[in-house]
Symmetry: C2
Subunit: 210 residues, 2 copies
């Protein structure tokens, strides 16, 4: 018989070991019930509507349609379902995109068993779309590195460059000469040890100089 109050969990994860591991773990926990497991979004798409899960554990790195891209599709069919992202790495961008796509939280694959259960529980309680951990990451993502090799002006100009503006336009908007902008850019490139716009932007963003 099905206990009506069980939290219904569905798992979409291509690695069988991990998938079955989670299923076993969650299934044996009182109050939780694994209603289905799938190795890909494509497999899940056909039948997951009928499983009526409360929570979906979704791997980000799925073959075929990625977990990230699967989120809005799943949400479309199951708007009330909470999606928890499974990820190996705590990569800012992936997690942010997942949240943007409608995920309610995330778990790294080395998360201890108890935490997994409590994460599912929290997300069901509507503790909010963001755990303190994610909130911390988000704030960190907005924080600048205070030990930048770039001067104020250089940072300012690199920020302008990162918006796609030409040097001429930057010069006009900052009320300085094009030659001055060029000088700053040369200095930026030297300091960051790069030889192009794209590399300068990437290096600066990686190091949170901008």
């Amino acid at each position: 018989m099905g206990r009506d109050l069980d939290i219904r969990v569905s798992i979409i994860e291509d690695d069988e070991t991990i998938r079955e591991g989670y299923a076993f773990l969650i299934g044996k926990t009182p109050g939780y019930k694994v209603v289905s497991t799938y190795p890909s979004y494509e497999d899940a798409a056909k039948r997951i509507m009928h499983d009526d899960p409360d929570v979906i554990l979704l791997d980000v790195e799925l073959p075929g349609i990625s977990g990230i891209d699967a989120i809005p599709k799943l949400k479309k069919y199951l708007p009330e379902t909470n999606i928890l992202i499974l990820t190996v790495y705590e990569q800012d961008l992936l997690i942010f995109r997942a949240l943007g796509n409608g995920a309610s939280g995330y778990l790294t694959k080395n998360t201890p068993h108890e935490k997994i259960i409590s994460a599912i529980h929290e997300v069901m309680e509507g503790v909010g779309p963001m755990s303190a951990h994610i909130a911390r990451m988000v704030i960190q993502s907005f924080q600048r590195n205070e030990s930048t090799p770039l001067t104020r002006r250089e940072t300012e100009i690199l920020e302008q460059i990162s918006t796609g503006k030409s040097r001429k336009r930057i010069a006009q908007e900052l009320f300085i000469d094009l030659e001055t902008v060029k000088s700053h850019i040369k200095n930026i490139y030297h300091k960051l040890n790069v030889h192009s716009k794209a590399d300068a932007i990437k290096t600066a963003k990686d190091n949170k100089f901008i």
Copy 2:
């Protein structure tokens, strides 16, 4: 006599009406004490260390050094103090920069009186660096507009462009011809009704197409 358990509040706000309004409001609330008010960061800098506030209400739009830039300076002298940003507009970028600089939360200037007190209380309780409201804004900021006029490929290419990469480099990384990239860009420009990289990036970001 000073009640030891009062929450010590300092206010930095250039508009006298608002400043005194908040001061009155908070001062008359049992458990709260306004220890100082300043019209600018420059005025506050000299003496705020001695006020030993628990919470600082800080206007973002200060004359001289802006509230945003004042945050790290204040944090340096008063690392234990929580800073609440006062802002007229709920502008994403400003708030995110404020959080990145170390602010603990924010209040809009039309916030009802009770909410102000409770925000101060929450931030003292360490309810977390983010209110549910801010969390919602953050998530929204990661969300894409689903009604984009751009195709998948066009979006992908515009994203690449926004990193500063040249068309040639984009072509190489996507394993397509330079001419194809050019075609996509022409279509992007037509759809967004722009005539340059910078404008395309700005329009797309404003509309959350990328």
